[in-house]
């Protein structure tokens, strides 16, 4: 397919959209599907036929609409009118919506105010296609301007130009560490020789995190396009998406998307009739958190046991089968097309001094609006939690926000005005991580939270290096003692020492960050530890404090 | 030296094989030398039932395997200035703690006495005949504060002599690479 054909497809699709009287998007991300979204979509489809509206009403399954706790969500757009969002829909409700369309009367109940801060304060770049693009139709993606960035890249840009735009954008890796993406690309591009590989890290292992999942499920072409542009920039012909086996829907949608893109010559040989070849294959993970670590991920793709190895050499120099390898996160790739389309400089206008663009967060825990949000970097934590997140339910008090999952830390109320960017979070002992944001109120015990995350790291340690494998076991034991009320000052000292040991001596990021939840709670909630140790009291009333020594 | 001003020393035998005490006897004539410099107030070698007050130095052999061991260890700690874990069982659990991986003491007892509980001492109808086993064998450190560790199974006589000489002279102990577990 050449550019003209592509333009024709876009034109046809846009005409069809403009001729339709209504577009009804049902959230088809895993959250809404789990509450019955698929049945709602089926019911819409059946009702459209029953009411003879096939020619004028389009029903689409789209990416995550954000308010996951109120699903299944349905977004109705009629002509140029403001869209209407319905929450907690059912098949019966779907029938009512369709029945009301000809007369223009939509149900009044179950409507969601789209002017509330949850919607107005967000800034959607990565998730901009949600509600517009059907996750399983490449035509929808094309009509929304998809693959224009790839087209422009191949037609107008040299690989160095692409790298320059990405560098200019200030984009940093969304997989956790925040490494400058442009810098990584230029390193890989400079690495000598042929046979460079591209990898998309879709192993998303943080408990409670589902940002990458919703991008993969909702807008798989966005990721493919980003990868293709990256491949062109660094000179790669083969890409892998390493996606966790627990995401069957994402896997299915990726497979569909890859097939569609190949058929339209957007992947494969001589992409858009250029000299550029690029294939993408899927590799399915088997549910080990550590396989999200890039060197373990590489070992896993190579068919070996997924265990990290010391860096250097970094994958950029010696990755898959010893070849230079570019590894980026799903969300990182999803930012690429907009950067190419609107320019790196434009992207860089958003965000803070050193953290540009937006970040997608998965809001969870004791917060009214649990779900997925995308906000500009630098938005104060308190605004994310109280304005967008709707605050704490049941009139309870905010106690802490946990960012960065098992590698992150707990942030107390005193830092609610903190602008959320990489440096600011690191400065108070947490990390941006991949975007998990768990809110806790006074019913959470910080010692217990630290114990929970330590248990996760203990169980997910790959077992290779001693400080992580054995240190997490001991730290978990000490924390458990605290939650039983049998710990002493000596145990606290041991815990602090082990936290330093694992941080400084572990081989990979898992062990190096495993103690972050402990260290940040020790820093911000020291009194709570002392209450457990000296007074044998759990202030939040969570811990057993039964005085029994854990075995 | 006047006997009343010499350091008051005790040796204690908990859940161990008494090998550490045998090694202590291997000091041979050096025992006489030590006897000049200390005052032995409690030991399995002496006919004394009650652990005395105001002990300066106690060498404690063995791990805590039963409730009697635990009670005695706490008493020793409360009455002693310098408590030394004497030998690997006291230091690390060692052979006495070999049963820990099996969980409860019951599987171990059943292995020795059979599954008929009426034939197991200290259990069921036989309670009180011997002190009940604790669920998990502890090294001393798990229950009380330990001042010094003298590892070895058993610790060699020379090392015991060195340790006692240093402590009796009131010096702080630094074993560095002189001692080893096992």
């Amino acid at each position: 397919m050449i550019a003209d054909d592509l333009a024709a497809v876009r034109e046809r699709e846009r005409t069809a959209i403009s001729l339709s009287t209504a577009r009804i998007a049902v959230c088809s991300a895993a959250g809404c599907i789990s509450t019955g979204g698929a049945a709602v979509k089926d019911a819409l489809g059946a009702a459209v036929i029953a009411h003879n509206l096939s020619g004028s009403v389009r029903v689409l399954g789209t990416g995550c609409l954000g308010l996951c706790h109120a699903g299944p969500l349905m977004r109705v757009t009629r002509g140029d009118a403001e869209p209407v969002l319905f929450t907690k829909t059912t098949p019966a409700f779907a029938e009512r919506v369709i029945a009301g369309l000809p007369s223009g009367v939509l149900p009044l109940e179950q409507r969601c105010d789209l002017q509330q801060p949850f919607f107005t304060r967000q800034h959607r770049i990565v998730t901009s296609d949600a509600g517009i693009v059907d996750s399983e139709r490449i035509e929808d993606y094309l009509a929304a301007g998809g693959y224009t960035a790839l087209e422009r890249t191949l037609a107008e840009l040299h690989p160095e130009d692409v790298v320059r735009e990405v560098s200019l954008s200030g984009l940093r890796g969304r997989g956790g560490a925040g490494y400058p993406t442009g810098l990584k690309w230029s390193t890989v591009a400079k690495a000598a020789g042929h046979g460079t590989f591209i990898v998309c890290n879709a192993d998303e292992g943080d408990p409670g995190a589902f940002m990458d999942r919703s991008v993969l499920e909702g807008d798989p072409h966005r990721v493919l396009e980003g990868m293709a542009i990256a491949a062109y920039a660094v000179g790669a012909e083969q890409g892998y998406i390493y996606v966790r086996g627990e995401y069957p829907l994402a896997i299915t949608r990726l497979k569909t998307a890859i097939r569609q893109a190949e058929r339209m010559q957007l992947l494969g040989h001589r992409i858009l009739d250029s000299q550029f070849n690029f294939r993408i294959d899927l590799r399915i993970g088997a549910g080990a958190f550590v396989c999200g670590e890039e060197t373990a991920l590489i070992a896993s793709i190579e068919g070996k046991r997924g265990m990290p190895r010391p860096r250097p050499p970094f994958p950029a120099e010696a990755g898959l089968w010893g070849r230079p390898t570019l590894i980026n996160n799903v969300e990182t790739y999803a930012n690429i097309a907009p950067i190419i389309l609107h320019g790196g400089a434009h992207y860089a206008t958003l965000g803070t001094e050193r953290s540009k663009g937006t970040k997608v967060f998965a809001l969870a825990g004791r917060i009214v609006n649990t779900g997925l949000v995308e906000v500009p970097m630098g938005m104060p934590l308190g605004e994310i939690i109280f304005d967008i997140g709707g605050g704490i339910p049941d009139e309870r008090q905010f106690k802490a926000a946990q960012t960065g999952g098992p590698s992150g830390g707990c942030i107390p109320a005193a830092h609610l005005d903190l602008p959320v960017d990489y440096e600011a979070l690191a400065g108070i002992g947490s990390i941006m991580g991949s975007g998990g944001l768990i809110v806790m109120d006074e019913t959470s015990c910080m010692v217990d939270v630290a114990r929970y995350f330590m248990e996760f790291c203990r169980d997910e340690s790959c077992g290779k290096c001693v400080p992580c494998r054995a240190g997490t076991v001991q730290m978990h034991g000490l924390l458990t003692k605290m939650t039983h009320g049998t710990a002493t000052d000596r145990d606290l000292a041991l815990l602090e020492q082990l936290a330093e040991l694992t941080t400084r001596t572990s081989l990979c990021g898992l062990g190096q960050t495993a103690a972050n939840p402990v260290r940040s709670t020790l820093r911000h909630f020291h009194d709570e530890y002392l209450a457990h140790i000296h007074d044998h009291v759990c202030p939040a009333g969570v811990c057993a404090m039964n005085g029994e020594d854990p075995r | 030296m006047e006997s009343l001003t010499r350091p008051r020393v005790a040796t204690v035998w908990l859940g161990g094989c008494s090998g550490c005490h045998m090694s202590l006897l291997d000091l041979d004539e050096r025992l006489l030398d030590l006897a000049e410099r200390m005052h032995l107030v409690y030991s399995p070698f002496m006919d004394i039932k009650q652990f005395p007050e105001h002990v300066d130095i106690a060498l404690v052999e063995g791990a805590v395997a039963n409730e009697d061991n635990a009670r005695l260890l706490r008493l020793v700690r409360s009455r002693t200035a310098v408590l030394v874990a004497f030998g690997d069982c006291a230091v690390a659990g060692n052979v006495t703690a070999l049963r820990n991986p099996l969980g409860d003491p019951m599987p171990v007892l059943a292995r020795s006495y059979g599954t008929d509980t009426s034939r197991i001492p200290g259990v069921g109808a036989n309670a009180g005949s011997v002190p009940p086993l604790v669920p998990k064998v502890h090294m001393l450190r798990s229950l009380v504060a330990v001042d010094y560790y003298l590892p070895g199974c058993p610790p060699p006589a020379d090392l015991i002599f060195f340790v006692l000489s240093e402590l009796v002279a009131g010096r702080t102990l630094n074993l560095q690479s002189r001692a080893t577990l096992g």
């Binding site: 001693v466 | 820990n100 577990l181 096992g182």
Partner: protein, 236 residues
Amino acid sequence: MSVTTLTMNGTLVSAAEGATLLAVAREHHIPIPTLCHFEGLSEVGACRLCLVEVEGSNRLQAACMTKAVEGMTVTTNSETLRSYRRQIVELLLAERNHVCAVCVANHTCELQNLAVSMGVHHVRYEPQAPQLSMDASHPRWILDHNRCVLCTRCVRVCDEIEGAHTWDLMGRGRHTLVISDLHEPWGQSESCTSCGKCVRVCPTGALFEKGTSATNKDPHFVTYLKMAREQKLWNR
């Protein structure tokens, strides 16, 4: 061959091109404790005992895997490093059932010797006392998981020198186990050639010969094998 000069513990030392910091230190008799390293085998950087400080980096580097670079300034024995190493040895001792007194490798064990050299006389961590098995199905040797430190020397020597790849790891974290073939009894392994190399490289009493009390160790035998193979010279 070009030569590199660097500073180790305040002294200028020379290094062959591509040499690791560990090799340089050994050549100059600067002691660095190691456990997963074995001369002649690939490096994995797993035990973390050989970590050293390199000036200009706040990350500690594994000496066994870090190449000497011109002008580097390396510290191998700061108080911090010594404290970390002691903690690592203690963690290992608490992790499985290292009962030295009744171990076949008592006094020949590398873990025990590390503890002695570092002055580790006791372990501050709770002994985990896991319930682990022994595999005595092989006619000549026994694998005792209670003593294994997961250094993977056996895995590497079997794969890299013998070419059999009988051993590998299964499970993760504290449940990681060395297994033969697909977790079959060693005695039934189809890939094992009964060469005994794994037994000779094992640092502890985890792999040992039936009926013997001490393991048959030779820290240089892999290097010897490799040289002999290359030069077709088998006299030692």
